[in-house]
């Protein structure tokens, strides 16, 4: 049987999604359904003096109006920060209380104040208008770089500082910088983004008073995490009385990893009113209350020798984490950011210092790439600047500093198991026809356009693990993954995974792995995920971890199945277990060529007897059934890497900038399904190019979100992109038996610096993201002035 690994298998999940038969949370409606509408703060920062619900309660169709006082009275716990970070001085991070419904103060526009539950959504919304909230409006803290110098938002958090974290050695960096021929400096802003999964968040909680069980449908990347948080921290219901189902989910990109206030409130309210409570965000609510991404202000320096050798690196960053510390808000700008900031280079000395600040804006959390795009943007724009200042070719300076021996001990944390960065960059230069750039540039010039080229070589740490290590660094959860492989008596297979697919194609990729391992046809394997009542506990999907960690758990569970199957087959074939081999779904005795298929063995395991005589196919002591579970906790992160080359064309008259050529060469280790992997790269690139050229979350000085709809927040569209050229190199990961590394975030990590380096190459000066027409036009004006002076 030909291996399915590496094969472009069309997705098993597509037909339902293509025919309107998918089931998303908003599609789920229960009998006796009620509808929730949230009263949200119109102010960025205010004290709540009074909430008067009397008029709303009398409004047509209203079932209940619940406030922060109600939720406090019921002792429902607040939302949590999931990763504890210590400051350089050894003190613990400071986080404010984050009640699901505010009772004392509101801290961003969109903060939750009350919920109106009614027989219909219209009635809930109409009544919400009648909830009268008296606010004492306070001055909002909005700007990332001014937060520490502004009024304290929370009285016990001085300077609005969550933590002041250091990774690395300041002394060693100082020594390195003292030896440098040149110090390259850069100041940059990593622009704030709004994830904008196309499916708005939603929740539908159904409490059954007789069993005291809540079933919560929710738009989650991670239903098990939602359950444990809502249960253990919010205290809404014990874990065994809370079933969380994340059915089809319309994209996440990080914004749906953890539960929000709405899920907690709907679950709690359903219990209170003993009816199902449904909430579906409209897009404006999504803009206001989904966690945002990025938002760093960074100063970084690179110490170099004149020959281009890197000696040291320092990174001083202020990270805006918004009004409250969301679940992964504190790890994103620290351990996911700092270690990767030295890039794919030998860097004798380095440190990353990050100050995380609170502001009166929506919470900021993980967004596709989470920390690694910020890191890569920092180092890769710095390296490109170093090349310019030293008069070196951007490829040459990179290659000079690439490690060539693996495992490579990266400066700050990681031991990178495998890679070949030179091969990746060389291939990118070939695929992208670097040699032909000058010709293309001249051709663009003949049409009055400025063409620029930009490089980015990146690595990322994903498949986050091992649990013992990350927990020692403050992580509040384990990061292993689970799988249960269940043979059904008739020989087909259901595989349960603790990860969750919301576009990544697990139904197909995971089935490919199991099909190969068990020798069962792909169509006889079903992947089940997203229901805490079905499979074992797991940690969901984010950080390009599912295949590497969750896929390995499947492999290990399959191996256990085969091990048991061997024992049973040996008994059935009346030979010693050591004489049985397993290949392509068959247990074979080599010397006699006698065999049993895995289906026959499964059948025997479930029906362990023989008609007419007392005879079991099961060896002595072996239990009936054929189902195995595995929990895989890898020994290391995985480290995808690659080189991307972008070419842009600028219209100097208008500043309009287009990506006209984009080449991505990535090393994701072993690729299971190239069709799906290419799709992941395309999507990541669109988000990365989006950050570089189009997307920007903008709050005004009073903390009002200006970009609160698609009229003002630029979502990239089909006409914003050229056709991407992809290439791959492969050095398999050594930390998992599949050799996979993860592919979901690469595009979003590599594209921003590749694009911005190209823009800078075209217009000669630094431009901040997003490189809007106006900013680029201003850069062109500057260039024209300096050119005319030179002339």
């Amino acid at each position: 049987m030909a291996s399915l690994v590496g094969s472009r298998v069309e997705r098993k999940e597509d037909k339902k999604l293509l025919t309107g038969r998918g089931k998303y949370t908003a599609d789920v409606t229960f009998a006796h359904q009620t509808y929730a509408y949230f009263v949200r703060s119109p102010h960025a920062r205010a004290q709540i003096k009074n909430v008067d619900t009397s008029k709303a309660e009398k409004s047509s169709g209203v079932v209940a109006v619940l406030t922060g006082k109600d939720i406090a009275n019921d002792k429902i716990g607040g939302l949590i920060a999931g990763w504890r970070i210590k400051s350089e001085d050894g003190s613990d991070m400071k986080v404010p209380a984050h009640p699901p419904l505010a009772s004392e103060s509101v801290n961003y526009v969109g903060d939750h104040v009350a919920v109106v539950i009614a027989e219909s959504l219209d009635e809930a919304r109409n009544a919400a208008d009648l909830v009268k909230v008296d606010y004492k409006v306070l001055k909002a803290v909005v700007k990332t770089d001014q937060a520490m110098d502004s009024e304290n938002i929370y009285k016990d958090i001085p300077k609005n500082l969550c933590f002041d974290w250091l990774l690395g050695d300041r002394e060693k960096v100082k020594e390195a910088f003292d030896k440098a021929d040149k110090i390259i400096k850069i100041d940059l802003i990593n622009n704030r983004l709004i994830p904008n999964a196309m499916e708005p968040r939603a929740a539908n909680a159904d409490y059954n008073p007789s069993t005291e069980e809540i079933t919560l449908y929710t738009t989650s990347q991670n239903p098990h995490l939602a359950r444990i948080i809502i249960s253990a921290f919010n205290g809404v219901a014990p874990e065994n009385k809370l079933r969380v189902i994340a059915p089809d989910v319309g994209g996440g990109f990080g914004s749906k990893i953890y539960p929000y206030a709405e899920e907690v409130v709907c679950s709690w309210a359903s219990k209170k009113i003993e009816r199902p409570v449904k909430w579906v965000a409209d897009r404006t609510e999504s803009f206001l209350s989904d966690c945002h991404g990025r938002d760093h202000v960074t100063h970084a320096e690179l110490a170099v020798k004149n020959d281009g050798t890197f000696l040291g690196f320092k990174n001083e960053t202020i990270a805006n984490i918004g009004a409250y510390a969301s679940v992964f808000a504190t790890v994103t700008p620290t351990y996911l950011f700092g270690p990767c900031a030295t890039g794919v280079y030998k860097m004798p000395a380095a440190y990353s210092n990050v100050k995380a600040v609170f502001t009166n804006t929506a919470p900021v959390d993980a967004y596709r790439g989470a920390g690694r795009p910020e890191a890569t943007y920092t180092i890769e724009t710095l390296v490109e600047k170093a090349a310019r200042e030293l008069g070196m070719d951007p490829a040459e300076i990179r290659m000079k500093n690439f490690p060539t021996e693996f495992p490579f001990q990266q400066t700050l944390v990681h031991s990178v198991d495998s890679g070949d960065y030179n091969a990746g960059l060389k291939k990118a230069m070939e695929v992208g026809d670097y040699k032909g750039f000058e010709k293309r540039k001249n051709e663009s010039a003949s049409r009055g356009k400025l063409r620029g080229i930009g490089f980015c070589s990146y690595f990322e740490a994903c498949g986050i693990a091992p649990s013992a290590v990350v927990m020692s660094l403050g992580c509040g959860i384990g990061l292993w993954e689970s799988a249960e492989v269940r043979f059904n008596p008739t020989g087909n297979v259901t595989v349960f995974t603790g990860s969750h697919s919301h576009g990544q194609g697990h139904d197909t990729t995971f089935a490919q792995i199991a099909a190969d391992r068990l020798g069962v046809p792909l169509e006889n394997i079903e992947i089940s995920h997203g229901d805490t009542d079905k499979g074992p506990f797991g940690y969901g999907t984010y950080g390009s971890r599912s295949l590497t960690v969750g896929g390995t758990a499947i492999v290990k569970a399959c191996d256990k199945i085969v091990a048991k199957g061997k024992k049973v087959a040996a008994k059935m074939l009346e030979v010693n277990e050591s004489e049985v081999d397993f290949k392509d779904g068959e247990f074979i005795v080599a010397k006699s060529n006698k065999k049993k298929t895995i289906g026959e063995v499964a059948f025997a395991c479930y029906l362990p007897g023989t008609y007419g005589e007392v005879k079991s196919p099961l060896p002595e002591g072996e239990e009936p059934g054929l189902k195995e579970t595995s929990f895989f906790d890898p020994g290391n992160f995985s480290f995808p890497a690659g080189s991307h080359i972008c070419e842009v064309e600028v219209d100097p008259e208008t500043g309009n900038t287009e990506v006209v050529k984009y080449t991505a060469v990535d090393d994701f280790g072993t690729i299971i399904n190239p069709l799906i992997v290419e799709g992941q790269v395309h999507g990541g690139l669109a988000q990365g190019i989006g950050q570089a050229l189009y997307e920007n979350c903008h709050y005004d000085d009073t903390g009002q979100l200006v970009t609160a709809s698609y009229m003002d927040y630029t979502m990239p569209r089909a006409d914003n992109f050229p056709e991407f050229n992809l290439g791959f190199t492969c050095t398999p990961a050594t930390s998992n038996p599949l050799g996979t590394k993860g592919c979901g975030e690469a595009g979003a990590i590599a594209a921003p610096p590749a694009v911005m380096n190209a823009v800078m190459n075209a217009v000669g000066t630094e431009v901040s993201m997003p490189a809007t027409a106006e900013k680029v036009w201003n850069a062109c004006q500057k260039m024209n002035k300096s050119n005319s002076k030179a002339a």
């Binding site: 999604l17 293509l18 309107g20 409209d282 897009r283 395309h682 979502m715 569209r717 089909a718």
Partner: protein, 153 residues
């Protein structure tokens, strides 16, 4: 309340709904045709695109009452005798969808394009899809799918 009579996916339906019911709500909540999705409030994302009398429109921005008497086709109406429409087949073959949320609108919009233009260029496809936002695919495989469908239709 208004009585709205339509032909939806070849079947005549007649329902009494509040005057302000938009077509997307009519389809999703009154007829339980939840394949049509709603992804924004400003008529831009295109997840809700359906055909009304053969033309693609955004069902979130049309009153049900206002299209009284029309023929509506939704994503559920494309399958015939258990076989997917060539556009649906092409999206599957070219991996033109990931999370699937924008997909119904994308497919309906793309079919309308091919009704106008048999063999559109890449640029024409990308321009036409201006009203359909996808956050997952980077559009490349969607363009490939539309071209594939064009060669089959």
């Amino acid at each position: 309340m208004k009585k709205v009579s339509l032909e939806v996916n070849g079947k005549k339906v007649s329902k009494e709904v509040p005057d302000h019911t938009v077509l997307s709500v009519f389809l999703r909540e009154v007829l339980n045709l939840t394949g049509t999705h709603v992804g924004c409030d400003t008529s831009q994302c295109g997840a809700c695109v359906v055909h009304v009398d053969g033309k693609s429109i955004k069902s979130c921005t049309a009153l049900a009452a206002d299209i009284e008497g029309s023929k509506v086709t939704t994503i559920e109406g494309l399958v015939s005798n258990g076989k997917m429409h060539p556009m649906q087949e092409a999206f599957k073959k070219q991996h033109g969808l990931q999370c699937g949320f924008c997909t119904p609108g994308m497919v309906m919009s793309a079919i309308d394009l091919l009704n106008h233009k048999k063999n559109p260029s890449d640029k024409e496809i990308r321009d036409w899809l201006e009203g359909n936002i996808c956050r997952c695919t980077g559009y490349q495989n969607i363009v490939a799918a539309v071209k594939e469908a064009a060669s089959k239709m």
